[in-house]
């Protein structure tokens, strides 16, 4: 008897269930229906809520009216904060006029030495001020993770109210989750030493969000 059979056998005994095949109709039904559980009251407008939560979690947020305005906004942010003006960006952002804004952005996944990473995001969750990333060939994970500065471009039309709405979007558009779905809610942090929160643990030190819409 394999470990698997032994373990499942003990589980079935504990549940007073006979050996399989068991009727899975009720669990199939629950999974198929995937009902939404308790959510906090929605007494806010999603974009405002997203911004408020993101800022509370130590990201900085600004808004521009179009994607074309993004490179200048990025340049302003980097210069004002005395940060490097070169880095890497997602392939989908390659076509923006980085050079015109005085920036050197390479279209490749981030490596250890890269200090600035610019990404889009799949969607954003207003409830928690969270950016949602889906893994894929055009959305390298390292870009939002390795550099000290992460800049995320968020289409305001992709701000959804609750976490469950993000799952619903994934199901509707992709059918099922890709290899990795990452919720990111600000710069990396730790409170392991004397329960004092410090920013910049192993991930980015700062996250700057540029809303476009």
């Amino acid at each position: 008897m394999s470990a698997r059979e032994n373990i499942l056998g003990r589980v079935r005994n504990a549940l007073n269930r006979k050996a399989s095949p068991a009727d899975t109709a009720h669990i199939d039904a629950h999974i198929a229906a995937h009902p939404v559980g308790m959510q906090p009251p929605r007494d806010w407008e999603p974009e405002l809520r997203f911004r408020a939560r993101a800022e509370a979690l130590a990201s900085t947020v600004e808004k521009v009216s179009s994607l074309q305005a993004v490179p200048d906004a990025v340049a302003r942010y980097l210069v004002v904060n005395k940060l490097p003006t070169s880095g890497v960006c997602w392939p989908g952002l390659r076509h923006l006029d980085w050079i015109g804004a005085g920036l050197g952005m390479e279209d490749r996944p981030a490596r250890g030495a890269d200090l600035v990473g610019i990404t889009g995001c799949y969607c954003a969750v207003a409830e928690t001020g969270t950016l949602v990333f889906l893994s894929g060939p055009d959305t390298p994970a390292a870009t939002s993770l390795l550099p000290e500065t992460h800049i995320a471009i968020v289409d305001t039309a992709r701000i959804v109210p609750f976490m469950e709405d993000a799952w619903a979007l994934v199901r509707a558009e992709r059918g099922r989750p890709p290899r990795a779905v990452n919720f990111v809610s600000g710069p990396s942090r730790t409170a392991d030493i004397e329960q004092t929160v410090t920013m910049g643990a192993h991930g980015p030190y700062r996250v700057h969000i540029i809303l476009v819409g």
């Binding site: 394999s2 470990a3 698997r4 032994n6 373990i7 499942l8 003990r10 589980v11 079935r12 005994n13 504990a14 549940l15 269930r17 399989s20 068991a22 899975t24 669990i27 629950h30 999974i31 995937h34 939404v36 559980g37 308790m38 906090p40 939560r53 996944p109 928690t128 969270t130 893994s135 060939p137 390298p140 994970a141 390292a142 993770l145 609750f162 976490m163 469950e164 799952w167 099922r176 989750p177 290899r179 990795a180 990452n182 919720f183 990111v184 809610s185 990396s188 942090r189 730790t190 392991d192 030493i193 004397e194 329960q195 004092t196 410090t198 910049g200 643990a201 192993h202 991930g203 980015p204």
Partner: protein, 468 residues
């Protein structure tokens, strides 16, 4: 991990006298407890959310076999390899074999309490493989000669910044610094190359989602993401009880867990992993292994402790436990401290090795009142006390005392006489001060406290007198 639970009393007493430890522990009441309270208040109807969490966990446990089978089917369909381990040794063997078969020399570890439970690091080291803890707290412990964690969420809650400053100065050979931000930066710089070069990443899983065959981890530092994205292999190891039916179910639990653990509305990172990387992806592991561990969980499922399996490892119970706040987690002598440790440790390693634990509590229920999935912790502790009684694990003075008390209390005339005598004797012992400074057989009390002397006559006799 070596089990030292039977030393609870001695270790607790030593910890009470440890001024540096007391300073660290003192922060729990002003930080962890306050942060949770603020998060709960900000959420609103947290009580209904707790009930919802309880229902979700109960739903999964009620059909644990079916949900595990569904999880496995979905995970395998997405290219993950699912392993089952009946016990700690088997689980370690599985992970070591995966490492050996793939020429793994270094393992980057994200925090996993199950890996502590099974003693994974020791097994890897024995096999000539180097485990590197990347969670800041766990890293601090690892370089301190593999000191065990004292908390399931904040592993070095017992250390001060000064302690960490000394340790980093000694082990890294760098100039001594006490600022937590500077210490964190130093750890970041030391660990970054290890992430980039590790062959295998090992993580736990806060939840397993049956619907999609995914594992989910919640982290703040970014090490979780690094361990599960950069190395060519990812092994996720966790207990079989962690399965949850759907993404929506896990969303409800994600509202409960961070608030209960650290007072955050959400952890900085929530990572859902489903299968290994695709051929056209630039990052992600080539292989994704999931190790499902029993190690005593099926026994819990079958018995009176089943409700303990709802646990989502938030640590709120220990943060709010006055005993934990006073003595810290190391007194518990194993992986799981505090109220949840009072139940899990005896259940997993045996009552004989953990005699003090179910008794090291006043049953005040501060733990149960904050448990996000409403586990009736004191009731479970009391049940373990019943088991101890049945198995003869109670000391003979205690059994004798209880038997005597119970026997006398069922015989009113005898009880009346006995209490009359006791009241007078104790009044005498109290003297003019009306305070007893030493009571035979009660040194546990009188070492640190006086005992107020009784009035000298029992209510029973006074009431009788009054009615005449």
């Amino acid at each position: 991990m070596h089990i030292r639970s039977n030393e609870f009393k001695a270790r607790a007493a030593a910890n009470l006298g440890d001024a540096k430890l007391q300073k660290g522990l003192g922060l729990i009441k002003v930080k962890a407890v306050v942060n949770r309270a603020n998060a709960v208040a900000e959420f609103g109807d947290f009580e209904t959310l707790r009930e919802a969490g309880k229902q979700i966990r109960n739903r999964a446990l009620a059909d644990l076999d079916l949900y595990l089978e569904r999880f496995e089917r979905e995970a395998v369909a997405r290219g993950a390899v699912v392993h089952w381990a009946e016990n700690a040794a088997e689980a370690c063997r599985i992970v070591v074999n995966i490492a050996r078969e793939n020429g793994v020399k270094t393992v980057a570890k994200s925090k996993s309490m199950v890996s502590e439970e099974i003693g994974l690091n020791e097994a890897l080291i024995e096999a000539g493989i180097e485990p590197i803890e990347t969670d800041l707290g766990e890293y601090i412990l690892q370089i301190n000669d593999a000191e065990p964690p004292s908390h399931i969420v904040m592993p070095v809650i017992h250390k001060t910044a000064e302690d960490v400053a000394d340790l980093f100065h000694e082990k890294h050979g760098t100039p001594r610094k006490t600022d937590p931000a500077a210490l964190t930066r130093e750890a970041r710089e030391i660990l970054r190359p290890k992430f980039l070069s590790a062959d295998m990443g090992v993580s736990g899983a806060n939840f397993l989602i049956a619907e999609t065959g995914s594992t989910l981890i919640v982290t703040n530092e970014g090490n979780g993401r690094l361990c599960t994205t950069l190395p060519r292999l990812h092994v996720a190891i966790t207990g079989i009880e962690k399965v949850v039916p759907t993404l929506e179910d896990v969303s409800t639990l994600l509202r409960l867990l961070p608030r209960s653990a650290t007072g955050q509305a959400i952890t900085n990172y929530v990572s859902l992993h489903t299968g290994p990387k695709h051929i056209d992806e630039s990052d992600g592991p080539q292989q994704f292994h999931i190790v499902l561990v029993d190690n005593g969980r099926t026994k819990l499922l079958a018995g009176e402790m089943r409700e303990m399996l709802r646990c989502i490892r938030c640590g709120a119970c220990m943060n709010h436990c006055p005993v934990y706040q006073a003595v810290g987690g190391h007194a518990w002598g194993w992986v799981y401290p505090g109220p949840m440790g009072n139940i899990l440790t005896p259940s997993y390693v045996g009552l004989e090795k953990t005699v003090p634990l179910p008794n090291a509590t006043t049953l005040c229920n501060q733990c149960g009142s904050v448990c996000p999935v409403k586990i009736p912790l004191p009731d479970l502790m009391r049940k373990l006390r019943e088991e101890q009684m049945a198995r003869g694990l109670k000391s003979w003075p205690e059994r004798l005392g209880l038997a005597l008390w119970g026997w006398a209390a069922q015989r009113p005339a005898l009880y009346a006489l006995g209490t009359r005598i006791a009241a007078r004797v104790m009044k005498g012992l109290g003297g003019a001060e009306k305070l007893i400074h030493r009571l035979p057989l009660a040194a546990g009390w009188t070492d640190g406290r006086d005992f107020p002397a009784p009035a000298g006559k029992t209510f029973r006799e006074l009431y009788r007198e009054k009615r005449k």
